[in-house]
């Protein structure tokens, strides 16, 4: 409407002026007069179009009289919206047009440095001048995204290219070098002292906790970035609800490694004795499917099963394969496995993951491991009895372990922001057996026996788990169910058995079958009350265990003898139900978690030989509290404390004798339920500065425990028999630890320092006498790795430990045991394709006659276009034995372990696909 009026008036004006111009042209008068008439005539037309718009003009000056640069706006009175605007020119003048119909209008002069100044005028063209008192405008701060803008965020990205050197073949070699990351001898990865909770490759968890398979096989050149996801919560539905202070690792692969099947192989042969080694590794990583399958076998001392270790697992009932019986075998020495591991190993694994849809995945993991391990050692064990006599047992033993393990796991899970479902099935079978032939000597009764031990220890288990977590706004529900069954029909045969104080025994056979079934069910509900996350759960659990044992004496006349005192058929069932409450509070810098579980336990023991039925009902309360505070962006302090209680167990309930190994008999005098109560508290300080590559961890802890029964051993000759005294016993201890990890500016090097001290005090029972025992352990370790001139890679480490243990009230028998170990590794890269390495290790122990052992190894590597050649020389000095001794005031143990001889091994690594 307004526009039409304007056009009409403008049209009229144009026509009018045209007519005027025409008239003026026709009029024979001079120019100036013509202009004057034109102007007068134009002015007459002016009121016609001034009806639809108001023009406000004016000037803006400050109180000093200076012109001001400002924004000038006009709006209808009562309206918050602006109708028109302009800026003042360089002499402070402005001109605004208002086309509205309000009676009054507001003219505003504003600028960030001058403030806001308004004048209300009536809606008609006018001159409105401003003289303003300049005052900076006060505006307020505002934030839309509530998140703090973080410098480091929760993900650290490490470019593999800058940490990898020519000798790094697999991604595990590079991981070890990253500051903040430690990989221990078992392949377990920790970040800032805490184990990682997930290992992803391209954001998918193919290996489900057996990440050694990835770190030992994925080539370093296939990975572009290693991402460390700090504070990782793998369950999306629990993100921001359940805080995690563990990190996760994700490998981002280079494009050339994605979507292609790669198969690598290795073949090797060598001497002393005849050595062989073979490997086949296949991997395929694509968007919707991943596969890693490996076969590894050797008899050259390399551990193939170590990479199958499960470092993290989802919650489930776990069936322990261990049994009660064992063969007396040499202890493994605390040195690198390849020096003493006489093996014949084969291991294969297939891991496959299907990504079904966006958030669902199916993974299947299967593994098979078989081994034939030979061990050879000499040991001397001395037990100091309270009457000051000494019981000595000398053993020279050759043993073999036969291992057959097979395992399969199938897992289907869904992980979305609102739902998490996990369905998992695990089946496991072991067919292991141990054999040992040895000579046992003892001054007691002049024993000189050649003893053969044979143990069969098969194991079978299956377990199924279902868990569901569902998120709804501020609350979440979860349900969890898991059930499992395990069976261990073990048997140990010992020939002869003369030392049982009978001269007519040719052998003794112990049968011990332990079966158990467990199932647990839990429903939980979580909600958020302001900043506190509260989780409540109600759960029930049943564990049914059956131990069926029989000890048979085989006489020289080939008759099998047994008695009720040598048999057990006991059911130990635990029924539990409980309520747990968990509260966690989190702000940007502070986290607190309080756990208050209350459990109602019913322990039912039904012993059938002789018949004994017992039922105990116990109510237990196990609170725990964790607090953590970020003093600065880099320094975090945390403390935690908890109280724990545990009851009985089948090992403290059976009453018939069990021959645990050829010279150990166990039984319980079962009067009461064995109870342990413990309290512990610890504090730690963590400093992390990723950009200076400095990570420091310091911690200390104290624990105290009380048991209501005291266990000990009586010696009948070389046979030890377990005894129990109804006397409460206390033990306590404290420890202090620190570790420091610093990335060095020269050639991506790292310096690591760590140390600790622990002190424990406890009561032990030996030959009916209670001794007050104390032990103190000190340890310190430093290591440094760095490169020199891009030609050498050097790794040096030094470790020291001191062990002191004694009985209070008795004179100290021995000085503290001190040990020192050093190792130096030098890698030399002569050209891009040819490199060599040489290692040396030195171990010193002040308690043995031959105090030190030295090892040296060397190797060469040659890379060609098609394959890699490796030559390895191990144990160059041909050190034959590892000797070690440990003493305490109650016993001394000295052993000598046979090592693998000097050997040479040639390997070829090549790509099949």
């Amino acid at each position: 409407m307004k526009n039409i009026c304007y056009f009409i008036t403008r049209f009229i004006y144009v026509q009018f002026t045209n007519t005027v111009n025409l008239l003026l042209k026709l009029m024979p008068i001079c120019c100036i007069i013509r202009i004057k008439i034109f102007l007068i005539l134009s002015l007459c037309a002016f009121p016609i179009f001034s009806l639809s718009q108001t023009v406000i003009t004016g000037n803006v000056k400050n109180i000093k009289g200076e012109y001001v640069s400002a924004t000038v706006t006009v709006q209808s009175q009562g309206s918050v919206a602006i109708s028109g605007f302009t800026s003042t020119n360089d002499v402070g003048n402005y001109s605004l047009t208002y086309k509205g119909t309000a009676d009054s209008i507001i003219i505003t002069v504003s600028g960030i440095n001058i403030g806001k100044h308004q004048k209300t005028v009536t809606n008609r063209s006018a001159q409105v001048d401003f003289i303003i008192d300049e005052k900076p405008l006060m505006i307020k701060e505002a934030t839309v995204a509530a998140q703090k803008i973080q410098q480091t965020g929760d993900t650290l990205n490490y470019n593999v290219g800058s940490y990898k050197d020519q000798n790094d073949r697999v991604i595990g070699d590079v991981l070890k070098k990253l500051p903040g990351i430690e990989v221990d001898l078992n392949g377990r990865i920790t970040y800032n002292g805490k184990g990682i909770n997930k290992f992803y490759v391209e954001n998918l968890d193919l290996l489900q906790g057996r990440y050694g398979i990835a770190t030992n096989n994925i080539p370093a050149e296939h990975v572009s970035t290693i991402q460390i996801l700090e504070n990782h919560q793998p369950i999306k539905a629990l993100k921001d609800r359940v805080f995690s202070d563990n990190a996760a690792i994700n490998l981002k692969l280079k494009d050339k490694a994605k979507g292609t099947l790669s198969i690598n192989a290795l073949a090797g042969a060598g001497y002393e004795p005849i050595l062989w080694q073979a490997e086949l590794v296949a991997m395929y990583f694509a968007q919707i499917m991943q596969n890693m399958s490996t076969y590894k076998g050797n008899n050259s001392g390399y551990d193939v099963a170590g990479e199958f270790r499960t470092h993290y697992d989802y919650e489930r009932v776990y069936m322990n394969p261990g049994g009660m019986l064992s063969v007396q075998m040499p202890n493994s020495p605390p040195i690198a496995l390849k020096r003493y591991f006489v093996n014949n190993s084969h291991a294969a694994t297939v891991n496959h993951l299907f990504k079904l849809g966006n958030e669902q995945q199916l993974s299947i993991n299967a593994l098979y491991y078989t081994d034939y391990i030979k061990k050879n050692s000499y040991s001397l064990y001395e037990q100091y009895l309270p009457d000051d006599s000494v019981l000595d047992i000398e053993e020279r033993i050759n043993s073999t372990n036969r291992i057959h393990n097979a395992e399969m796991a199938v897992r289907l899970n869904l992980n979305t922001n609102n739902n998490y479902i996990n369905n998992a099935l695990n089946i496991k079978g072991n067919w292991d057996s141990d054999n040992a032939l040895g000579t046992t000597l003892s001054r007691f009764n002049n024993i000189n026996e050649s003893i053969l031990q044979h143990l069969d220890k098969p194991f079978f288990s299956a377990d199924y788990t279902f868990s569901l977590i569902k998120n709804l706004k501020n609350n979440f529900y979860s349900a969890y169910f898991s059930a499992g069954y395990g069976n261990r029909p073990h048997s140990l045969n010992v020939k002869p058995a003369n030392y049982f104080n009978r001269s007519d025994l040719s052998a003794a056979t112990q049968y011990a079958t332990l079966r158990d079934f467990s199932s647990v069910f839990r429903i939980a509900y979580g909600m958020k009350i302001k900043k506190i996350n509260a989780d409540y759960a109600v759960w029930g659990r049943a564990d049914i265990k059956n131990l069926d044992t029989e000890l048979q004496y085989i006489t020289t006349a080939n008759l099998a003898e047994t008695a009720d005192s040598l048999k057990n058929n006991i059911y130990y069932n635990t029924y539990q139900t409980g309520i747990t409450q968990n509260y966690s509070y989190k702000t940007d810098v502070f986290r607190a978690t309080l756990n208050i579980p209350l459990t109602y336990n019913i322990f039912v023991t039904e012993d059938r030989i002789p018949y004994n039925f017992q039922r105990h009902v116990k109510l237990a309360f196990y609170p725990s509290l964790t607090l953590s505070y970020d003093l600065t962006g880099r320094l975090t302090i945390s403390t935690s404390g908890k109280i724990d209680k545990s009851f009985g167990g089948i090992n403290s309930s059976y009453t018939g004798y069990i021959m645990q190994n050829y010279r150990s008999l166990l039984k319980n005098t079962f009067d009461k339920l064995f109870e342990t109560k413990s309290e512990s508290i610890n504090a730690s300080l963590v400093y992390r500065d990723a950009f200076n590559s400095l990570f420091i961890n310091a911690s200390m802890g104290y624990n105290h425990s009380t048991k209501n029964l005291l266990y000990g051993y009586d010696y009948l000759g070389i046979l030890s028999v377990k005894t129990t005294i109804d006397k409460p016993v206390k033990s306590n201890g404290y420890n202090v630890n620190f570790s420091l990890n610093k990335g060095l500016s020269f050639m991506s090097g790292t310096l690591r320092l760590s140390g600790g001290y622990s002190n424990t005090k406890s009561d032990i029972l030996v030959q009916d006498e209670i001794l007050n025992y104390r032990s103190q352990i000190y340890n310190a370790r430093g290591s440094i790795n760095f490169g020199l001139f891009s030609f050498f890679a050097i790794d040096y480490s030094l470790g020291w430990n001191m062990n002191k243990s004694y009985v209070i009230g008795k004179q100290e028998r021995f000085p503290a045991i001190r040990g020192l170990s050093q190792s130096l590794k030098i890698g030399m890269s002569f050209t891009k394709t040819f490199s060599a390495h040489i290692n040396g290790e030195y171990n010193y122990n002040n308690s043995t006659a031959e105090r030190s052992t030295t090892f040296a190894d060397a190797g060469l590597k040659l890379k060609t276009k098609k394959c890699d050649f490796e030559l390895e020389l191990n144990n160059l000095f041909n050190s034959k034995y590892y000797i070690s001794a440990s003493y305490s005031d109650i016993s001394a143990y000295y052993y000598r372990y046979n090592l693998r001889p000097r050997s040479v091994l040639m390997k070829i690594r090549f790509k099949l696909l």
Partner: protein, 285 residues
């Protein structure tokens, strides 16, 4: 020397990374070499192409507008954060062979983009705007150009909306070939805004083109009691050109990056074909 080594390594990475596009230039400026040109009390943060305004990882970029008395600067914060953390890292690792790819928060865009790798300086007295752009890897030069301060002719509407706790009013215009909708804060009388926008009686807190290809939205208005300095990198080596020539160069890069940059491959695998990226610049004219 270090720069050549880093460039050589990156070439090696590219040659094996055929599918990845637009690797960012590895040389990051030393933030200690910046000079102060103005000072300010005010800093406004904008989310560039955010999918979820609450989560920085869903932004293409987080950008900042610093308004001084004589100039204003508009630049990428993710890039500045990366540069400052790299400067600290390089100082501590002087012999390192290469540096971590990216420091700090990463947005969802992991390739080069003109609107993330450019800095815009508006000079009020000279009435001009200068753009400095860091080019993607392979380009021998970086570029800059100056133009007369772009002015948009807005048509204000009566609709209002609250953004970042400020009441904003709607305005629309057509600028260099695209139609835009903007929301300016009535209570912040500064004629400025993200990128090249301005010319409204209040500070523009949100602006987007009508095809929704580009969105700038304010996430924070930051005030300082004491003035902070507005700094500029040493841009003397950036070659001077004009806007039209630079736009043509960008178009060539998106169409055929390898050719535009002059990369030659020794392995003749056909998979080295550059996948043409759609080119949708803000300024079509």
């Amino acid at each position: 020397m270090k720069k050549t080594i880093i460039s050589l390594i990156t070439i090696l990475i590219i040659c094996t990374d055929i599918q990845s596009q637009f690797i960012v230039s590895p040389s990051k400026p030393n933030i200690n070499n910046m000079t102060v040109i103005d000072s300010s009390n005010l800093r406004i943060w904008y989310a560039f192409n955010a999918t979820d305004i609450r989560k920085q990882e869903t932004y293409d970029d987080l950008q900042r507008l610093e308004i001084g008395n004589q100039t204003s600067k508009y630049y990428s914060y993710f890039l500045f954060n990366d540069d400052s953390l790299s400067t600290v890292w390089i100082k501590n690792h002087p012999n390192a062979k290469g540096i971590p790819n990216k420091f700090g928060t990463i947005g969802k865009k992991d390739t080069w983009d003109e609107y993330i790798f450019s800095e815009y300086f508006k000079n009020y007295a000279e009435h001009s705007l200068t753009q400095y752009t860091r080019m993607p890897f392979g380009m021998r030069n970086f570029y800059q150009y100056s133009e007369k301060m772009p002015e948009q002719i807005w048509k204000i509407a009566e609709d209002t909306l609250t953004i970042a706790e400020y009441l904003c009013q709607k305005a629309t215009c057509r600028f260099r070939g695209r139609n835009y909708t903007a929301w300016f804060a009535i209570d912040i009388p500064i004629q400025n805004g993200p990128w090249k926008f301005g010319s409204l009686p209040g500070l523009i807190l949100k602006v987007s083109d009508n095809d929704m290809l580009y969105k700038f939205e304010c996430v924070k208005v930051e005030l300082f009691n004491k003035k902070y300095p507005i700094k500029i990198h040493d841009y003397r080596k950036f070659e001077k050109t004009d806007r039209k020539k630079l736009d043509k160069l960008f178009k060539n890069l998106y169409n055929d990056y390898f050719n535009a940059v002059g990369l030659i491959f020794t392995d003749t695998d056909n998979s080295t074909m550059w996948k043409k990226i759609p080119y949708n610049p803000l300024e079509l004219e």
